[in-house]
Each structure stands twice: as C-alpha cells, then as structure tokens.
Symmetry: C2
Subunit: 203 residues, 2 copies
C-alpha cells in the first residue's frame, strides 16, 4: 500500500539515528534502515544522497536529542562543577535505563571507525569535542575566578583533559554492565578536577 500517512522526515532521522547508534554505521545496511525507520528506499534516497549523508544528518540530530538535553546545563550561564557532575550522572543514568545493548556515545563509536580521509564526517566529531571542551572550560574559568589557582593555560588543559577523559568513559561503557563502575569513575573525575581547581568537590 503505497503512500500511507505522510510522516515528518524527523521520524526518518530519529529512527535512523537510533539504528546507527545501536548497531553502527558500517554494520547496518540500507535494508535494515528501511525496516527500522519504516520509510521506503525511494523516499530515503529522495531526501538524502546516500547512506553517508543520512548518517551526517543523524550526527547533527544526535547533538539535539542526546547531547543538548544533558549538556545544556553545563553550557548555561552560571554553571558550576555541580552541573558537570549532574551531566555525568545524567549520561550514566540514561545508559543504565536504556533497554538494549550498551551503545556508548555515537561520536566515540564513529571516531573509532572513522576513515582518515573522510573530512566531512570528521567535522561533526570536531564539533562535539569542541563543544564539550568549551562547556567545561567556561565552568572551570568561573570556578577558577574565585581561587585563581590555575593559569589560563591550565584551565584550558584541564578542560581538554576532561573532554578526553569523558570520551574514555563512553568508550569503555560499551563493555561495562555495572553502572556503579561508571559512577565511581565520575566521582573520581569530579574529585580530581575539584582538587586541581582548589574548590570543594560537589556532592
């Protein structure tokens, strides 16, 4: 039965995002995508040039539906270390409650199978890491303004470190079944950052 209910194309991207996230870009086929999204081959190819372009749309959408809801509080005016702690807890809780395989972070997963020649995909990954680092840095600058414990360079280095370290959390999350191990990681990260900044560790 062709032409059922005309559905917004947001559905396509949202469902494709879930599929890419759960299974991986390389591992999932266009046939799978047709089934998972409920959108026909013809429609997918009329909206996107191919699998890769659809994936790019999903990477952009990932920021909206997965990153922003959790990270916006860190980017908010006046955010402090407790907002970073909450960001980590949100991510862990979200992974914990997700009914399915450990999917980790789409950006981290993509990073690991990125074709070095694929500059276009790389830009989406750069955006993500830059976003995290900027968010962390602004918070660290705000905290550091009170104590002046760190130089500007050190604040930036601490922000870059935090981003890298968080990527590690999502990397290893794909084989971790115990969310408490992730919480121990988050507590330790907060403890180390607080000590470096010379402020109280949020509880």
């Amino acid at each position: 039965m062709p032409r059922p209910i005309s559905q917004s194309r947001t559905d396509l991207v949202d469902n494709a995002l879930a599929a890419f996230w759960n299974v991986g870009f390389q591992a999932i086929s266009m046939g799978d995508l047709v089934q998972e999204t409920g959108v026909s081959r013809g429609s997918i190819y009329s909206d996107f040039k191919g699998k890769r372009e659809l994936f790019h749309a999903c990477l952009a959408r990932y920021q909206e539906v997965a990153v922003t809801p959790k990270f916006a509080r860190v980017e908010a005016e006046g955010a402090k270390l407790s907002e970073i702690k909450q960001f980590l807890e949100d991510g862990i809780a979200s992974q914990e409650s997700f009914d399915g395989p450990m999917r980790g972070c789409l950006v981290v997963n993509t990073l690991a199978q990125l074709d070095p020649a694929d500059k276009e995909t790389k830009q989406y990954l750069d955006f993500h890491t830059t976003r995290l680092t900027n968010g962390f840095r602004t918070v660290f600058e705000r905290e550091n303004a009170l104590t002046g414990a760190l130089s500007d360079q050190d604040v930036i280095a601490l922000a870059e470190f935090t981003t890298t370290s968080v990527l590690g959390l999502w990397s290893i999350s794909r084989k971790i079944t115990d969310a408490d191990e992730m919480r121990r990681y988050a507590d330790m990260l907060m403890s180390l950052i607080s000590a470096k900044l010379g402020v109280e560790c949020p509880t």
Copy 2:
C-alpha cells in the same frame, strides 16, 4: 608460482594485525588481507577458521607487539609514577612517528564497533583493560604506601579511572594531528594523579 618460500605464520598475523589496526575489522576485506599479508586465501583459511578467528589471533598478538613493549615497565617490580609517565610518552611518540593515518588503539577501536553478542571478542578487550588497571593499581599501591593518603578502595578507583582516561586518549587520538595536545593531556593526567596520591609529580 605456488609454494614460494615457506614463511613463518607469525608474518601472517603480524601483517594482518597491521591491516586490522590501520583500516579496521569491518572495513578490511579478506582480499585486502591476502594482499597485505602476502599469504594466499587457501593458506589463511587452512590456519584460521575465518576472518574473525584471525582477528582474535591479531588481538592476542597486539598485546605482545604493541602493549607489552610499552607497558612492561609499568608492570615491572618497583615501578613508580615516572614509569606511567614514560608509558604515556612512549605511546604518544609511537603514534607521532607512525607514518600513516592516526590508528589509535586497536582495543579502543574494537570496543566501539563490538557486537554486544560477541562474547569471544569481548574477552580480549577485557584482558586489555584489566591488564592496564592492574598495572596502574600496583604502582598506585606502591606510591600510596609511602603517604597512606588513599584507602584501598580509592586506589582501585584511581586505577580504574586512569585506565578509562587513557582509553579516551586513544579514542581522540584518531582525530588529533597535534601530538602536543596529547602531551598536554598526559601531563595533566600525571598532575592529577600525583596530587591525589599526595606525591611529587614526575617530570
């Protein structure tokens, strides 16, 4: 010309390891593997049941040729924080001098595209992370014996954190072109660990 010089099968695994590491398990084909290793299809399939089993042999070999040469000093009797610092610097220098695309760490790459149902491959990844955590933990215990700053639980948590954090370094290394950024990360990690343990940061 069939049957040239009989080469040890170590060549097969070593060259296959390089191929898996550079290109990735999913992205590389058996045809590529035949070309990269110089071993015929028939021989590969007579030595290994298939692509997956060959990959497992490569994951095991990875420990010998990539991990042990760098991490053994951390696992050595009497190793201290300076050995961990050297381990990080070794990895960064190795990535820096490698002539080719940023390959990162084979274990981290595999983690990101691991089929959750593939318990067999998962064991090789578990081995790696356990190895790192144990190595870090032993060093931290040795350092902590001097100051007694941390509880046994905290020492373990710090070791787990360090492992996770290092995985993050190798994850992001695949898109980093500037080795100095990795060095800043390593310095910050050493600084944070030293502070937590209450000992001098190795220089």
